[in-house]
Amino acid sequence: MISTLGRFTMALALGIALYGAIVSILGARRRKPALIESGRGAVFAVFGLATFAVLLMEAALVGRDFSIQYVARNASLGTPLLYTVIAMWGALEGSILLWIWILAFMSLLAVVIEGKRNREAMPYATGVLLSISAFFLFLAAFPANPFTAIFPPPADGRGPNPLLQNHPLMAIHPPCLYAGYVGWSVPYAFAMAALMTGRLGEEWIRTVRRWSIVAWGFLTVGVILGGWWSYEVLGWGGYWAWDPVENASLLPWLTGTAFLHSIMIQERRKMLKVWNLALIITTFALTIFGTFLTRSGILSSVHAFSESTIGPLFLAFIGVILLVSFGFLVYRSDGLKAEGDLDSLVSRETAFLMNNLLLLGFAFAVLLGTLFPLISEAVRGVKVSVGEPFFNKVNVPIGLVLIFLMAIGPLIAWRRASLDSLRRNFSLPLLLAFLGTGVSSILGVRGLYPLLAFSLAMFAAATVIQEFARGVRARRQISGEGYLTALSNLTRRSRRRYGGLIVHLGVVLVVIGITASTVFRLEKEVSLKRGESMHLGRYQVRFDDLTAWQEAHRFVVQGTFTVLNANRQVAEMRPSKRFYPSEQQPIGTVDVRSTPREDLYLILSSFTQDGASATLKVLIRPLVMWIWIGGAVMALGALVAIWPDRRVLAAEPVKERVAWQPGRS
């Protein structure tokens, strides 16, 4: 029943998406409002059908309907409810369904919010969005159908991959990441609409600004949550391994970040028109590329879904996107001449240009490292793997220069900065940075890169805080507001600017967290008998007990360890190993004690059958928590930047009425 209904829904949605894509563009070209309206209706219909399909899938999962192959493979009678619900994005077919739903939702929002403001571009953008939907619906209707039936149905299912039912972060990391990927479809659609209509001015930039920040914010949160999940679940004490799929999520983030900055130059100075279009096309193509990597099985990765036949389809889709989009760009290139010019090397434009080049260089290095195993095998027939050393060697210096630019960019003047303004803006932060370097070197930081990382982070933080402090002081002097009122009014007056500065502060926290947790990490692996202790850093860890029990869907062996700091008990920690019937390897579950100062990370490596001794790996990673906090601050900054402005919202309908009744103005 569910199977038939589900397959019918997917096929119907595919048909409507295709129809809507065609009539939207046809209607726009021939100026037929009825067709355009029909295309708009298709967006609503696709969203309705996608929602219905998601509900059907959840009903099948929660109802443990094992006659659906996807349910049989990804749910089981013993799986807890939460992990059954989120099993929808635990494997290929379901994750495509989630993708479809998010895309349908974003398309709906785009049509509703932008429809009135962009009468000319909207039908084209609708056509592009529905075409993207149609591709994913095609996958879901044919090669990766989530509603495929299985006969006879098994009595119990296999259950989700144990790694995916081990931590609640799994509930939010994939949807955030997908929203981050899918979100770029909207800016891309408006960019394509601009290319199709030939209205290549700044209108499309103004339209996509907010959408890009939304996509960027979700992508940021998705990437950071991915690191956090890996840290909490995979049990190796790290959060980033330059795995192909991690890289695939970083690539659109890098180009998207470049885009967010370079559109500011176009808005201000009417420069970089081709560049911005190329950036948004690249960013969108990279989001599809990331999906392609996870699902095609062409590179070895911890994230790879089971191999499937959809790889070639994805590749064809990427090919079409690149050829059509860049084809349009070349076709329109004559209308994309810059109207402004670079006035001085010491200006915000230059800082942004450098930032763009470095972000792109960073992205290129990541792409090259990711694809190098493939290149090597194709050209020389040799299997190689590219690991952390390559990525760190290339990307750390680029990252450091980027932090420097991040610090000076927002404070340097447009066009041409005077020596005086430079002195006024940067002398205090520079002083603080030098002080910070001194302090970190006294605290034991050694090496050029770590020292540079800390001092640049300090420099960047100081510029941001100085900027806020100056703004608050100015408001207080004029209006006599309190500190907090002044701060909130200041931010509200110029959300994009101050939102952006908050994001920069978040980046600083992430950089500090990464540097400290890498440079000052301690680790030790020892075998302990019951009652024995080991020492690491300030901590003493005592092995107390080992217990084992059977749960509904797994067998658990857990060690109990008492953690002492200066002979005072600070925690009792319980790392465990979980044995799932369907897996050969037990899944280690780490126990992490997080404090703002440092994380204590316990991994139960092995134990003797009688429970008399256990091998324990202990890691101390300072300031790790600040990476997650930094991520939250970045998301907060993005939220501030996109928060709707009441004044603008109230003003808009009026503007439109005036436009339609010219006699009144």
Partner: protein
């Protein structure tokens, strides 16, 4: 518009697409087994129905040695009928099909054999000795051992009828 501008798009994009397309031909997870081309490690298998067999006794026979488990859904479920069919087709031509059930409960394993009506010898690998000797990484894995006792080919993942037939024919 200059011609070079028109050409630049396909010139830049095509190699990237070709490279990614090449990726479909490769299998990044495939690490060649060092056992292929060398003599098969000796083994002794006591089957669930009481018989015993081993590499020594089977010298001169081509062996299809399949590692499986009853919990290995769907791959083991998919290949079981193919193995049974190959056994029936080739048992009179000097080919032995052996199933090694690893990390499993006996009752589940017997139910699996019953479900697919497997008639070739199947036995457990109690201490995991065979899995270790053969470097079994997951299930299903299948070793094709020729008449001289040399490992001819190793296959990871579910087998198909065509593949079984092809590899067996190569050994005969």
């Amino acid at each position: 518009m200059a011609t070079w501008k028109k050409l630049i798009v396909p010139i830049v994009i095509t190699p990237i697409l070709l490279l990614l397309a090449y990726g479909f031909k490769t299998n990044p997870r495939q690490v060649p087994s060092p056992l292929v081309g060398n003599s098969a490690p000796p083994f002794a298998l006591s089957s669930f129905d009481g018989g015993t067999t081993g590499l020594e006794q089977l010298r001169g026979t081509a062996i299809v040695l399949n590692f499986w488990a009853s919990w290995c859904f769907p791959a083991c479920f998919e290949e079981a009928p193919a193995l049974e069919a190959a056994w029936r087709a080739y048992k009179d031509r000097g080919v032995m099909v052996l199933g090694v059930d690893i990390q499993d409960r006996e009752a589940d394993a017997k139910a699996f054999i019953e479900r697919f009506k497997l008639s070739f010898p199947n036995g457990p690998d109690p201490q995991g000795r065979m899995s270790i000797d053969y470097g079994v990484y997951g299930v299903p894995e299948t070793f094709f051992i020729n008449r001289e006792g040399t490992i001819h080919y190793k296959h990871v993942g579910a087998l198909t009828k065509q593949m079984l037939q092809g590899k067996i024919e190569e050994m005969l």
